[in-house]
C-alpha cells in the first residue's frame, strides 16, 4: 500500500515564562497514513493532539521534523486538506448553503455558479440538511451546525480530511446519529481521514487504526492499534464482533494506566522510544495466545 501521509520525528516546543524556557509538548512523533485509511488519535488532554492536527493542516508549524503528503512537504494550509473544527466554525453571517458554496468556489475556481450550487445542495442532502439550507448557523442546532461543517469539508473533496473532536460538543444521542452518518459517508467516499477524539467507542467504530499518545509533556505516539473489524460497520453490529472488546479493553487499559507508565519509564530512561509507535493487534494477540494454550 502506498504511504499517503508520512509524519517523521515531529517535535513541538512552546516558549514559556516569557520565552525564558521551552516546554516540549511532544517529541519523536512518527506515523503514516495510507490512502483510504481512517486513523484516530487518542490521548489525555494536554498531550498535544490538537497541535499534531494543526501541524497536519498547516495552520501551525512543528519545531522539528517533517510531514509530507504524497512525498511533498506540508508548508502551509491547503485545499487538499479539509478541516472539520471542533466548534463547527461556520461563518455566522452566511447561510448554511452560502458557507458551502463559498468553500466550493475557493476550491473549484472555474466551476460555473449553477454547478457549484448544485454541488452544495448535493452535499447538504448527504448530511440531510437540504431543507435547512437557507438558515443561518444561529438558527441551527449544535448537531446541524456540525453536519454543515462536515458537508463543507467533504464538498471540497480533500485528499485528507482532518477532524478535531468533531462531535465532542454534542449530546450522546446526536453524537451517535452523526457517527452513523459519518460511517456511511466514509464508506462511500473512501475518504482518507485523521481524527482526534476522546471517545473510545467512536474511535473503534470509525478507525482502521488508532494512535495512542502517552501523557505530556514530551508526549509520544506510543502505540498503533489495529482495529481488526471488517467494514462496513455500524454502531449496532460492531459490539457483537469479538475484536471489539479486545480493542476496547486495550484502549481503556492504556488510557487509565499505560499512558502515564510510558511517560514515567521514558523519564527514568527505562524505555527506548526508537521503535515507537509499537503496532498492536489486540484481537490477533488474543487468538495467538489461545492457540498457544491449546497447543
Amino acid at each position: 500500500m502506498k504511504q499517503f501521509l508520512k509524519v517523521k520525528d515531529l517535535v513541538k516546543k512552546f516558549p514559556i515564562n516569557n520565552g525564558k524556557e521551552e516546554l516540549t509538548v511532544f517529541k519523536n512523533i512518527n506515523f503514516t497514513i495510507n490512502k483510504g485509511e481512517f486513523v484516530s488519535i487518542i490521548g489525555h488532554s494536554g498531550c498535544g493532539k490538537s497541535t499534531v492536527l494543526n501541524n497536519l493542516a498547516g495552520l501551525d508549524m512543528p519545531t522539528e521534523g517533517k510531514i509530507s503528503m504524497l512525498d511533498k512537504p506540508i508548508t502551509g494550509p491547503s485545499l487538499d486538506r479539509g478541516v472539520i473544527f471542533q466548534n463547527h466554525s461556520l461563518l455566522p453571517w452566511l447561510s448554511a448553503f452560502k458557507n458551502i458554496t463559498m468553500a466550493i468556489h475557493c476550491k473549484f475556481k472555474d466551476m460555473p455558479k449553477e454547478k457549484a450550487e448544485e454541488r452544495a445542495i448535493r452535499f447538504l442532502e448527504m448530511v440531510g440538511l437540504k431543507d435547512a439550507m437557507n438558515k443561518k448557523p444561529s438558527e441551527l442546532s449544535g448537531g446541524m451546525k456540525q453536519r454543515v461543517g462536515i458537508a463543507r469539508a467533504f464538498s471540497i473533496a480533500p485528499s485528507l480530511l482532518l477532524m478535531d473532536e468533531p462531535f465532542g460538543a454534542l449530546d450522546a444521542l446526536t453524537r451517535g446519529k452523526l457517527q452513523d452518518q459519518l460511517v456511511e459517508i466514509c464508506d462511500k467516499t473512501q475518504q482518507t481521514t485523521f481524527m482526534i477524539t476522546h471517545d473510545i467507542d467512536e474511535a473503534i467504530l470509525l478507525s482502521d487504526k488508532i494512535l495512542l499518545m502517552s501523557n505530556g509533556p514530551e508526549a509520544r505516539v506510543a502505540k498503533e492499534i489495529i482495529v481488526d473489524i471488517p467494514k462496513p460497520r455500524s454502531r449496532a453490529s460492531i459490539i457483537k464482533h469479538p475484536a471489539y472488546y479486545e480493542v476496547r479493553n486495550y484502549l481503556v487499559d492504556f488510557l487509565v494506566e499505560g499512558s502515564e507508565t510510558v511517560r514515567q519509564k521514558l523519564l527514568d530512561g527505562n524505555l527506548n522510544d526508537e521503535s515507537f509507535p509499537i503496532q498492536v493487534n489486540p484481537y490477533q494477540e488474543k487468538i495467538n495466545s489461545k492457540k498457544l494454550q491449546t497447543a
Binding site: A57, S78, N87, S89, L91, P92, C106, K107, S138
Partner: protein, 275 residues
C-alpha cells in the same frame, strides 16, 4: 393592557403633565396695561418682554416655522429646514470623509500589531482633544468657514470609527480566520470575505457613536463660525432674544439627531449577525 400600551399611555401622560406645568410656571411677557403714554409706546413697552416661553407658545411657533421650512430672506432670516439642511450637509460631508479614512486605517491597525503599537500613542493623544480646538487652525489653513466646520466634524467623527474598526478587526475569531486559511484565501480575499463581514457590526457601532458626536459638535461649530446652520440659528435667535425659537430649535436638533441615528441603525441591521 400590554406593556407597550402602558408605556405609550405613560408617555402621553408625562407630556400632558409637562405641558400643564410648563404653562403654569412660564409667563407670556406682557407688561404694563392698556394706557401707555406715547413715550412708553415709542420705547417698545407695548411689546412683550423677553421670557421663557411656555410649551404652547413653542408649539405655535413650531407650527408656523414648519409650514414654511425652506424660505430664505437673507442672512438673518432663513427657514428652520434650510438651516437644518446646511447642518446635515456639513455633518454628512465630514462624516463621509472620516469613513474614508477611518475604515482603511482601522483595518490596518487591527490587522497589524506593528501599526497598532506605532499609532496607538497618536490616537490616544489626539482622541481626547475637543474638536473645536482644531477650529482656529482649520480656519487659518482652509480659509473657509464652511469647510472648516466640515473639517471639525471630520476630526471628531474619525476616532470612534477608527477605534471600533480596529477593535472589530482584531477580535475576529481565530477559527474563522483558520477557515479562510484552510480554504487558501489570499490576504485580500480573507479581508473582504471573512474579516470585513465579521467586523461590520462593531464598525457600525463606531459609526453610530461618530454620528452622534458629529451632531453634538456641529451646533457648537456653527455657533462659532456663524453664517448658516442650526447652531448659528440658535445663537442668532439668542441675540434676538427670541427664546421660543431657541426652545424650538432644541427640539428640532433632538429630532434630527434621533433620525440620523435611526438611519445608521437601520443600515446596520443588514450586517448584524448572531453567533
Amino acid at each position: 393592557m400590554t406593556e407597550k400600551r402602558k408605556a405609550i399611555l405613560l408617555s402621553i401622560s408625562l407630556l400632558i403633565g409637562f405641558i400643564i406645568i410648563g404653562e403654569l410656571v412660564t409667563g407670556n411677557g406682557k407688561r404694563g396695561g392698556e394706557n401707555l403714554t406715547e413715550y412708553q409706546q415709542l420705547m417698545g413697552m407695548g411689546e412683550p418682554q423677553a421670557h421663557v416661553p411656555g410649551p404652547l407658545e413653542v408649539f405655535k411657533l413650531g407650527f408656523k416655522e414648519l409650514s414654511h421650512p425652506f424660505y430664505d430672506n437673507g442672512p438673518n432670516d432663513k427657514g428652520i429646514g434650510t438651516q437644518l439642511f446646511y447642518s446635515i450637509a456639513r455633518v454628512l460631508a465630514g462624516f463621509s470623509l472620516a469613513v474614508l479614512f477611518a475604515l482603511p486605517i482601522g483595518f490596518l491597525i487591527g490587522m497589524s500589531p506593528l501599526f497598532y503599537k506605532a499609532l496607538q500613542p497618536y490616537i490616544q493623544i489626539l482622541k481626547p482633544v475637543s474638536p473645536l480646538a482644531w477650529m482656529p487652525l482649520a480656519l487659518f489653513i482652509i480659509k473657509d468657514s464652511i469647510m472648516s466646520s466640515v473639517f471639525v466634524i471630520f476630526i471628531c467623527s474619525i476616532w470612534p470609527m477608527l477605534i471600533n474598526t480596529a477593535f472589530g478587526v482584531m477580535s475576529v475569531k481565530k477559527d474563522w480566520l483558520n477557515v479562510g486559511k484552510t480554504l487558501e484565501m489570499g490576504n485580500f480575499k480573507t479581508a473582504f470575505k471573512v474579516i470585513l463581514p465579521a467586523a461590520l457590526p462593531t464598525i457600525f457601532t463606531g459609526m453610530r457613536i461618530s454620528m452622534g458626536i458629529s451632531w453634538l459638535v456641529i451646533v457648537a461649530a456653527e455657533m462659532l463660525v456663524g453664517g448658516t446652520g442650526i447652531g448659528y440659528y440658535v445663537w442668532n435667535e439668542w441675540n434676538n432674544l427670541d427664546l421660543s425659537s431657541v426652545v424650538f430649535s432644541i427640539l428640532m436638533i433632538g429630532i434630527v439627531g434621533m433620525f440620523l441615528d435611526t438611519i445608521i441603525a437601520y443600515f446596520s441591521t443588514f450586517f448584524v449577525y448572531q453567533e
